[in-house]
Point group: C2
Chain length 251, copies 2
Amino acid sequence: MQRYFVPEEGWQESMVRITGDDRHHIDRVMRMQTGDSIICNAPEGRAAICTISNITDQYIAATINEWLDESKELPVEVTIAHGLPKSDKLELVLQKGTELGAASFIPFQAGRSIVKWDKKKAEKKLSRYQKIVKEASEQSHRTVVPEVEPFLDFDALLRKSEDYPVKIFAYEDEAKTKDFHGLSSILSGLEPGQKIIACIGPEGGYTIEEAEALKAHGFEPVRLGPRILRTETAPLYLLASISYHFEELRC
Amino acid sequence: MQRYFVPEEGWQESMVRITGDDRHHIDRVMRMQTGDSIICNAPEGRAAICTISNITDQYIAATINEWLDESKELPVEVTIAHGLPKSDKLELVLQKGTELGAASFIPFQAGRSIVKWDKKKAEKKLSRYQKIVKEASEQSHRTVVPEVEPFLDFDALLRKSEDYPVKIFAYEDEAKTKDFHGLSSILSGLEPGQKIIACIGPEGGYTIEEAEALKAHGFEPVRLGPRILRTETAPLYLLASISYHFEELRC
């Protein structure tokens, strides 16, 4: 069944009102009719099966039939802070990271990022990125849409990280030692609902100064398996491992 | 240090001879000089640090200095059998799947594959795919290059699967039940060195007939977390989970 995220103002007691791109998608792309069923997600994470009752050029109205009891969200809230990678790799991370359950994304300017963003460029990108995560959430049947937070410089990222009780960073140098710090021991220590921020370097990794600053701010270096992963593969490994740990292995 | 896979015929007792694209890469792309060091991988998985001793237009000669003791390979041999997906998604699976440790890949024609391949097209694609996995192996410091096996139809895939003692398939319907079969219990039962084949459906998943045939041939359905993953994300989740299970959690 097709799924749509409906913002707060679209919800009434027993009805949902859908406008904008989603109205167009239901009417023109899916060519649905009154009587057809869809799943509507509310902002706080709940979802309901709804039946389309009226299709107009301005909105689509649907009646709420049944609230669903779903558990599609990772039991811990994972934020991926990603040093700006080249070309469209960040879009891949946003799409796949959403499928894999990330709670939010923070793009940041890393010392070795080839791409440089200014404020104007960052704002323009942000609305595109929010569209990608919304669509990926619908596709993967998530019950909440991840946040894509405004672009930060490295110092602002360090300040922002103070909101998170658990902080890790993928650090290639850890993969070269036998005495690496275990991702599994960090995951095993997490409580349900806890927030964790994972910092991923751009191509070429962190500068030595960045790695030192991350450690000084309480980020623990982790390795993500013994192979060297590309920058865009690292967050996918991490999120899949977190899902496996909590949702499949149930450690 | 840059890493190159050198085929059997390039190895002599204390020397390596590199030709073709890799010769070009060392000479013209990396602009290396005699005296520079590289890592050369032999086909059976061993790797050595070598020093360039001679650069000609036909070959590059390098002296073997030291054999490395490396453990970069997953402790189990994972084959990803992927129902042909659309556009360049298979290339993404090959590149990322190689980084994540797959031992081999088998593309197959699934009932719901939009793309149809004939023998000629499959042969043309194969050499491109082999190049992708070779480059990804070098990038991720793997010690063996995964196989990309010739394209199969579904019946040939079923026959081929008899070579594998453990067989699983990602099945969306399993994700909808509470009584799903656990990936973790299958992984926990694997012995080091054992071969496992994982079958991934194309966009739209398997036909009912395919799912039944897979079960009848001993494939166990598994879910890959509670969210619905795109076809190209499923093998990455699976490989990352296998790496986490054996290489990080060390179950």
